[in-house]
């Protein structure tokens, strides 16, 4: 079988997980010797697969029939096309670099082997998700990556905050996944099959079909089935890709070790929602309503994330909110039909955001787990490699001309401009957000790396130094990719995937170039530079200015600093009422009814036993009398009944 190596791509990390999961206790500090080769092997095979697919081939490999029930049959299979191959390279690439980085970052941690086991499991799950050829497989691995995320956020489970963040991430994701599951079930009910190619093949016949949403309540509200499916699946994407209103888990997820933030919460898992929307483009393209919802949710997320990132002080949180914002960009692009642009940004973002997180990790490691940027400063002399790679990552995030982020963001903005009047509005929002993005990313650079030292790491006794080559080499590789990814022709590579006949406004049909494209490109560049300049003004030239502004615009500052009070809102409206309800259920139902019934049974039996033991008088003749009465009774029954 010539394509055996496709199976090996996910199986290598899985094997590493099994070995580390079962024998991690004995492997201990040598865990990376198992995990790193497996993931690097997977990366090499992914590159092979990419070369294969670039030749125009796309392959479907059935692995085995997973379950059959009546007419339903679900095969576990791998589907490799250009989109999947690009994602494969992103996932295995970032995963391999993060694995190497982890050797340095987690050295001496008690859970060293456990950590490697979980990231290997995550890599496997993510690869299977990307390679899915049916909705059930997609759903199962969608859940599996969520589980890995939970396990890894809670890696330092001794900390209350880590446990709370892990639980929060899991619960918020579950809310989204519930919608996703409903979507999958609706697909099964509508198409009778869960395989992509059957569903996509029949989709044109279903287009006009409607569904009465209020049927169980006796109402009548006809909704297009396709729209319903698309929206339900999108609920899952909202949870997984941290879109408004389910974005609250992602910043808290920064409680996990930094390599996880880079791998799961920046480059791969959180982009699964965007990937899913792009993968299911044939469904979304048939539902303008769903597309608009996707676009608007994406745009809102984009603006909200950027506005919060402006005022945060925890460096990882700044980067986390910028991730939320960038995911909004991708989602918006998908919603406007520019799936190719969305995936393009996903791939470049994977590189530069992983770089930024790993850079943060390097700073945190050098400063002995200090994360508050106000207590940093002046780090550019102590950590030159981290500084320069971080600057490159920030430039890419800010969309500085020439970097990968510039090309992909520009691609999104131009495609958005071409996509109708909604697109024009969102494109302008995107431009405004690009300005904010440039500002907050360079605020981080200037505050953390420039200026005087505000930290007391090691109390000045030991010099701060770069954490070693396992940390710096991944940074340098990602820095190169953050620039190079803009020049290797990703949009042209992805183009064939999204040129389906049904694609009304797909990326390929858009006329590229034109005067407007140049204007947008210039505007984005100028705004990006302006953002950087403003950050320079605020934090280097005129350091009192931010505080003065915060004083005079108190309300706005508070709104941003407290993350638009979304957490507080959820706490009031959902979390606390749920706790109250649970408390009531505990006291009124659990204690009163259930415990009451159980304890009541025991008490009744005890009372009866107390009564019955009076029979045990110890008098032989009482027992003899009992025997006689019994014998008489038995005889009576025998003779007369």
């Amino acid at each position: 079988m010539d394509s055996l190596y496709y199976e090996l791509i996910p199986l290598l990390p899985f094997a590493a997980f099994l070995i580390l999961g079962l024998f991690g206790h004995w492997i201990g500090e040598r865990a990376h010797l198992v995990a790193v080769p497996a993931v690097v092997g997977s990366l090499l095979l992914s590159l092979l697969a990419l070369a294969d697919v670039a030749g125009g081939r796309h392959t479907s490999i059935p692995l085995y029939t997973w379950l059959t029930s009546g007419d339903m049959r679900v095969d576990l299979g791998l589907y490799v096309d250009r989109l999947a191959a690009a994602m494969l390279v992103l996932v295995t690439g970032v995963s391999a670099l993060v694995h190497i980085y982890t050797i340095g970052y987690m050295r001496g941690d008690r859970g060293y082997a456990r950590f490697f086991a979980y990231i290997a499991l995550f890599t496997f799950s993510m690869l299977m998700l990307v390679l899915s050829d049916n909705f059930l497989q997609l759903f199962v691995f969608w859940e599996a990556v969520g589980l890995c995320s939970y396990l890894l956020i809670g890696h330092w489970y001794e900390r209350d905050s880590a446990r709370a963040a892990a639980t929060k991430a899991f619960i918020v994701n579950r809310i989204g996944d519930f919608g996703f599951l409903l979507g999958v079930l609706l697909i099964l009910a509508t198409f009778g099959s869960l395989e992509y190619r059957h569903v996509f093949g029949q989709i044109a016949d279903i287009a006009g079909q409607t569904l009465n949403v209020l049927k169980p309540f006796g109402g009548d509200w006809q909704v297009s089935t396709i729209t319903m499916i698309a929206l339900l699946l999108f609920v899952g994407a909202v949870g997984k890709s941290a879109q408004v209103p389910l974005h609250v888990w992602l910043p808290d997820a920064m409680e996990g070790p930094t390599p996880i933030s880079a791998l799961i919460h920046a480059a791969t898992m959180v982009t699964a929602g965007v990937f899913m929307v792009a993968r299911l483009a044939p469904i979304y393209e048939l539902s303008p309503v769903a597309m608009n919802v996707v676009a608007v949710v994406g745009a809102v997320t984009m603006v909200l994330g950027a506005s919060i990132a402006l005022t945060q002080f925890d460096i990882k949180r700044v980067v986390a909110y910028s991730t939320v914002s960038q995911l909004g960009y991708m989602m918006m692009a998908c919603g406007l039909g520019a799936f190719g642009s969305g995936i393009y940004h996903l791939l470049t973002h994977g590189a530069f955001k992983a770089l930024l997180f790993l850079g943060c990790g390097s700073v945190i490691l050098a400063l002995h787990h200090e994360q508050d940027m106000r207590r940093m400063g002046g780090l550019k002399h102590d950590l030159p490699v981290t500084y320069w790679t971080f600057v490159i990552g920030s430039l890419a995030l800010a969309g500085f001309p020439g970097t990968a982020g510039f090309f992909s963001k520009d691609d999104i903005l131009v495609s958005a401009w071409m996509a109708g009047s909604l697109g024009k509005l969102l494109s302008l929002l995107g431009l405004a957000t690009a300005f904010l993005t440039a500002f907050y990313s360079f605020r981080l650079v200037f505050v953390a790396f420039w200026g005087g030292r505000h930290h007391d790491a090691g109390h000045g006794h030991e010099p701060i130094h770069e954490p070693g080559s396992v940390v710096t080499v991944p940074l340098m590789v990602l820095a190169i990719l953050s620039i190079a990814a803009g020049y290797i022709g990703i949009p042209e590579f992805l183009q064939p995937v999204f040129t389906s006949p049904a694609g009304a406004a797909s990326h390929a049909d858009l006329p590229h170039g034109g005067p407007m494209a140049t204007v947008i490109m210039l505007a984005a560049s100028v705004l990006g530079l302006a953002g950087i300049a403003l950050a320079y003004l605020f934090y280097v030239a005129e350091p009192q200015l931010p505080d003065r502004l915060a004083q005079s615009w108190r309300r706005l500052y508070e709104l941003s600093f407290h993350k638009w009070f979304v957490d507080e809102l959820y706490d009031r409206t959902i979390v606390r009422p749920t706790f109250r309800l649970a408390d009531r259920l505990w006291r009124r139902v659990d204690v009163a009814v259930i415990d009451g019934a159980v304890n009541g049974t025991a008490r009744a039996i005890a009372w009866w036993a107390w009564f019955m033991r009076l029979v045990q008088s110890g008098q032989t003749q009482h027992y003899a009398l009992g025997m006689m009465v019994g014998a008489v009774l038995m005889l009576t029954i025998y003779l007369f009944f």
Binding site: L614, Q616, S617, G618, Q619, T620, Q621, A624, L625, M628
Partner: protein, 100 residues
């Protein structure tokens, strides 16, 4: 030849006497004797029916019952002696340790 009902009535009287003796007497030896009365009442029944049906099996059974009863009395008396040694009484009311 007396009709079988005579034997049965006799047996019933002896059995009832034994039963009442077991239930109301306090002296363990008398209780043991009463148990013997109940056994012998059944023996009378066996013999009477054996003759009535012209079947020797009933009489054979009585031999077994007598043998077992003799053995039982031996064990019972031994227990009574042991009880007497420990409590210096054979009044059944005094032995009520096995209670709640």
């Amino acid at each position: 030849m007396a009709p079988i009902s005579y034997y049965l009535v006799l047996s019933a009287i002896v059995f009832t006497t034994g039963l009442v003796g077991v239930l109301i007497r306090r002296n363990i030896i008398v209780i043991l004797l009463s148990v013997e009365l109940m056994l012998n009442a059944t023996n009378i029944n066996f013999v009477a029916f054996s003759q009535y049906f012209h079947n020797a099996a009933g009489q054979v059974f009585v031999f077994f019952a007598l043998t077992v009863a003799a053995a039982e009395v031996a064990v019972g008396l031994a227990i009574i002696i042991a009880l007497y040694r420990s409590r210096a009484t054979i009044n059944v009311d005094e032995f009520r340790l096995l209670k709640w």
